[in-house]
Amino acid sequence: MKSNTGSKVRLGIFVTLGLGLFVAGVFYIGQKQRLFTSTFALKFLCGNVSGLQAGNNVRFSGINIGTVRSVRIVTDSTVQVEIIVDKATKKFIKKDAQASIGSEGLMGDKVVNINPGNPNQPEINADDFILCEGGNSIDEIMGQIKVVATNTAQITGDLAGIMDNIHQGRGTVGKLLMDTVFANNLDQTVVNVKKGAGGFKENMDAVQHSFLLKGYFNKKKKEQERSQKKAEENSKK
């Protein structure tokens, strides 16, 4: 009898805990979908929603403030998006607020970003329409990447042409690297420069020993010795 009561209590605890976990889970999911918070609806019309779906997040200054309630086609070129937003943020969204469709990273879900608008404008009302800003869709980003790829292809083509010219020995750089006659001439020039430098050194030695400039060079030598002595004394101190 006692063990029967014990097992009933344990069963009661088991069932209560299980149902409690379920209710807590449902509550948190509902809270995320703003089922238990006071909200209001806003609408905007867009030409292209880039895959936006009901349930995607709505952000204001990077904070999730709501979700997309519905996305439906109203004309052949217009889509109406209805969003539900936390009522606490209503005072920050002005009449000229703008909505744009962005993405959570390259692979992430779509999000609606709300630009609050001019602070001098009056506060927005429930069920109002706001403007839709043309955001950077993935298609546009891919288009830009295509332009970059085309430019890169052109640059690499030009580089290939330059390399070909160099290889053929055309142009200054090509001659420098590929022309053997030019290389021999350059080699000879270096030899001549070396010879000239040797002759110049001999001339300078002769000038140093001539009586006209001997005084100048001796004076320079003495100055050098003096500064050397001074440096030695300072180091001793």
Partner: protein, 278 residues
């Protein structure tokens, strides 16, 4: 010489048996047997629904069965869920890291565990542990003529033995699946923190940001069907067992095999139905 003759005779009989397996008469017999089984199983299920809603109700036996199925299976289900959550997180991490999507790990594991893995694993564990137990228990009662004795004494064995067990499993498997979901998320949290540092609040925030009602409700609803399938199949196999003690083992074995197979079939159908609403 005499031995050789016996061996040849035995081989001949074996060959005859093999040949008879493909004969039309044999196939016809098997088909008759199959449709006969379908008929008795359908009658058994209809009898369950008829008796389940008709008083008197065996409340005490029902609660006892709930305790045996729910509380007694929780440690096994919980441990399995913890390990599954942990392992699944650790296995998924390298692939998500390659894509730079590590922050998706909690949500991905949670959706996979709640939508599919936890309900199926829980149901399979219950089919193995509870289904085989019920099959063997009822079969041994049938073999030892306890069920016949109950019928003779006017104790309504079907209501007492079958209805209570099937209802208990049908209601306890969803609860066990909810526990399994929660414990697997705990395992995932441990897995995430083994190679990183994530607070419980951020972990839960990541999960509930991506989780939707469509992930939770179909998964919980299908566990009622899993539980019912385990209960009705194992009770049918045990209640209609024959061939003496050999039948007890067979009832336990076929209960597990057929219940497990049915779980996968129901799961496949549930996915199709859930996809229809999304």
């Amino acid at each position: 010489m005499k031995k050789d003759a016996t061996v040849l005779e035995e081989n001949g009989e074996e060959a005859k048996k093999q040949a008879s397996k493909f004969s039309i008469a044999y196939l016809s017999e098997r088909l008759d047997d199959f449709f006969g089984q379908v008929d008795t199983f359908t009658r058994f299920t209809l009898r369950f629904f008829k008796e389940a809603f008709m008083p008197p109700y065996e409340v005490n036996e029902f609660l006892k069965q709930c305790y045996l199925v729910g509380n007694k299976s929780l440690p096994l289900v919980g441990l399995t869920a913890l390990i599954m959550g942990l392992v699944f997180t650790m296995q998924s991490r390298p692939t998500l890291t390659k894509f730079g999507a590590q922050s998706w790990l909690p949500a991905m594991v949670a959706i996979a565990m709640i939508r599919e893995i936890s309900p199926v694993i829980t149901a399979l564990i219950c089919a193995g542990k509870v289904g085989s137990g019920i099959g063997a228990e009822l079969a041994s009662m049938r073999v030892t003529e306890q069920i016949d004795a109950m019928e003779v004494s006017g104790n309504r064995p079907f209501k007492y033995l079958v209805v209570t067990r099937v209802m208990a499993i049908t209601l306890m498997v969803p609860l066990l699946a909810i526990f399994s979901d929660s414990i697997s998320l705990l395992g995932s949290f441990i897995g995430v923190n083994l190679q990183g540092d994530t607070t419980a609040k951020l972990f839960l925030s990541h999960i509930f940001e991506k989780l939707d009602f469509i992930d939770v409700f179909p998964a919980i609803i299908k566990t009622f069907f899993f539980g019912f399938a385990i209960g009705i199949i194992s009770c049918y196999k045990g209640y209609n067992s024959n061939s003496g003690t050999e039948g007890v083992g067979r009832a336990a074995n076929t209960s597990v095999v057929q219940a497990s197979l049915t779980i996968f079939i129901i799961d496949m159908l549930a996915v199709q139905v859930a996809n229809f609403f999304t």
